[in-house]
Subunit: 238 residues, 2 copies
């Protein structure tokens, strides 16, 4: 979510899979439903709750045979707990997978810049999951956050990512100037603009893809049994 | 099919959709099952029949609510008729959609170079569908076709498309030298390497995306009723 970000997530998952031929890849089912109400609008109290839509998608995928779910949307992490309670298939929790990947890639980091939707910031998901590993967040001020949202809306509106790259770099540089030791791109549209981690930032989508492949590996190594004790519920990917 | 080509098809469909926000896009369900047996091997009599796998995927998508199916694989067109007979949802036929797009983009073309898998060539799907519109095919000789297959296998094996672009250009130039007025990239892996139509070639994937959006538009304009008389069966996209 949105559509382009989902396609980008699928592309990166395939690129990151060590495979020599088609048959070495994971079997992936995608439900790319663009009618899911805007997650940020809901979290700011300005739009309908997307949870029923997310539940329908999760159940549709589970009915089609999916054994593990992931929502390629940082903002949707705010709805993950309610979702996990209602579904019969484990959900790899995006924000927790990012936190796990961050501490592996940047051990000891204390101050992380966060570029995300206003909904993600308002929900506090990253504040909570990163406080647990001793990481404090540096976020844009109100005017800069408006510019971040404009970038996200432009990408959703079909503006090619490469035209938005300079503005994204500027936003990351601002957070470094404000004391961030690293900047996390924690919105899948920003990941799509950035096309991966680089010198200026860590891309949350890369961290989740990495984590998902680790879970799949562990699954395969356990003779096809899920590599976690309780089947349904939230997976942190640790 | 393969996995990277499916992701690329999804990306192009989204990029080509005139949309200002998430909610303007098509609802797309993807079944990216990499275990489908190799289509070329089957058509050359060297591997198992993929039809049962394709049927399972088609039924899974129909059960999940899909109203129109498309297989992002040129080679799989050879199995489309048998598939369409068994499923309850119409299938947009890839090869016919390409033929329709070709005659719109290159009216009056008489000789078309074809870069495709050896399975597609052996199946005769493009020979048949293009003969109907008066187009004769120019295909690589045996040695050159081996080089085309090597490109396809390299992309499936994870070699980045940009590293294969020069060899693909060489193959297209050879077909022009042999009398082709235009060259069609009729394998989704080659489409993924090319990243779209350009001065050297027409990309079959672009033509199908275009056709699919036309069908979706017609569908939307007909108050949600399918824009064709018989629900199941093969759609040529005309």
């Amino acid at each position: 979510m949105g559509p382009a970000a989902t396609a980008e997530f699928l592309r990166r998952l395939i690129e990151a899979t060590p495979a020599g031929r088609d048959q070495d890849h994971l079997h992936v089912l995608v439900d790319n439903d663009p009618s899911v109400p805007d997650r940020t609008a809901a979290l700011l109290g300005e739009g309908p709750d997307p949870t029923p839509y997310l539940l329908t998608m999760a159940r549709r995928l589970a009915a089609a045979g999916a054994q593990l779910l992931v929502m390629p949307c940082n903002t949707a992490s705010a709805f993950a707990t309610r979702l996990a309670d209602e579904i019969s298939v484990p959900l790899l929790r995006w924000d927790a997978a990012v936190a796990a990947g961050l501490t592996r890639r940047r051990p000891g980091i204390a101050r992380l810049g966060l570029l995300a939707t206003s909904g993600t910031l308002a929900s506090g998901v990253y504040q909570q999951v990163l406080a647990r590993v001793g990481v404090e967040l540096v976020v844009p001020d109100a005017a800069a956050q408006e510019r971040v949202m404009a970038l996200i809306r432009a990408r959703k509106g079909g503006v090619p990512g490469r035209q938005l790259l300079t503005d994204l770099h500027d936003a990351a540089v601002d957070l470094r100037s404000a004391g961030a030791q690293e900047v996390l791109l924690a919105c899948t549209e920003l990941s799509d603009i950035a096309q991966g981690s680089g010198p200026g930032w860590l891309d949350a989508m890369d961290l989740v893809v990495e984590r998902l492949l680790l879970v799949a590996d562990a699954w395969a190594a356990s003779d096809g049994r899920p590599p976690f004790s309780t089947a349904p519920g939230l997976l942190t990917g640790e």
